[in-house]
Amino acid sequence: MSLDYRQPDLYLITAAFLLACGLFGLVRRRTLIGMLIAGELVFSAAALNFVAVNRFFVSDPTVGQVFVLFVMGLAAAEIALALSIIIGVYRNYRSIGARELSELKG
């Protein structure tokens, strides 16, 4: 496999690697912020996949870019909400370990 930037292979494989890293982090991490960062990696993998497929196999190159812009907006909204929830959790439990959150209506 040559390192050619005009072929889609490397981009798609990089996106798969980002997805694998995100999955690994989601399973392995024990704090909420770490899991959130792994989730961001999954978002990035999806965005890279969209742009690569859009660049190489679609005739209208604006569709993928607009879609990735929407994905970025959603990621920003998700991060803002999740972080405020994490801070609320930290105020109640004094910890953000995912293992500590074992009761509802805290």
Partner: protein, 177 residues
């Protein structure tokens, strides 16, 4: 493109640099134990991704990647790390269980990666079609305000609701004992 001698090699080197930055950032983001280093890894990964977007002929997305991911998301994560003090986690109560989870996670993600790489290599991809537009910034602007206007407005509403909800949740947490 042929003005500089060896321009092809420089471009190739830049591409490899962007690729390596992305991969190294992703590994750093999930492999370190400290959360703040993990945030730095995410920022590094986003710099590499911006380079890859540039090579995919969408420079506007490269700018937005740096602006939103590094300028907004990583900075917000740093704020959360500052407020919530996710210290060094206490060592796992059961070392064998921790190793087991690590093995399971590595196995799962390795299998996923291998499967996707196999699919990428084996799938008969179609040949590139003729492009009807260039995908410039002007085209993106027309598409955002024309064909995707409704989705654009919906994203605005989602962002406003997310900001209000974040304020509400954080405020409510403060007044509780």
């Amino acid at each position: 493109m042929n003005g500089i001698p060896g321009a092809d090699r420089i471009i190739q080197a830049m591409f490899v640099l962007a690729l390596l930055t992305t991969v190294a950032g992703a590994v750093w983001a999930v492999a370190t134990r400290r959360i703040i280093r993990s945030v730095c890894g995410l920022a590094l990964c986003c710099v590499g991704l911006a380079g890859l977007y540039y090579f995919l002929e969408s420079p506007f997305l490269a700018l937005m990647e740096i602006l939103i991911y590094i300028g907004a998301i990583c900075v917000t994560l740093v704020f959360a790390v500052m407020l919530a003090e996710p210290d060094e986690l206490p060592p796992a109560e059961n070392r064998r269980a921790a190793w087991g989870w690590g093995t399971v996670a590595a196995l799962l993600s390795g299998l996923l990666f291998a499967g996707l790489v196999w699919l990428t290599r084996e799938h008969p991809w179609p040949t590139a079609p003729n492009r009807i537009r260039l995908g410039t910034l002007h085209d993106i602007g027309v598409a955002l305000l024309g064909r995707y206007g409704f989705a654009f407005e919906l994203i605005s509403v989602v962002l406003v609701v997310a900001i209000l909800g974040a304020l509400l949740v954080a405020r409510y947490g403060r007044t509780r004992p």
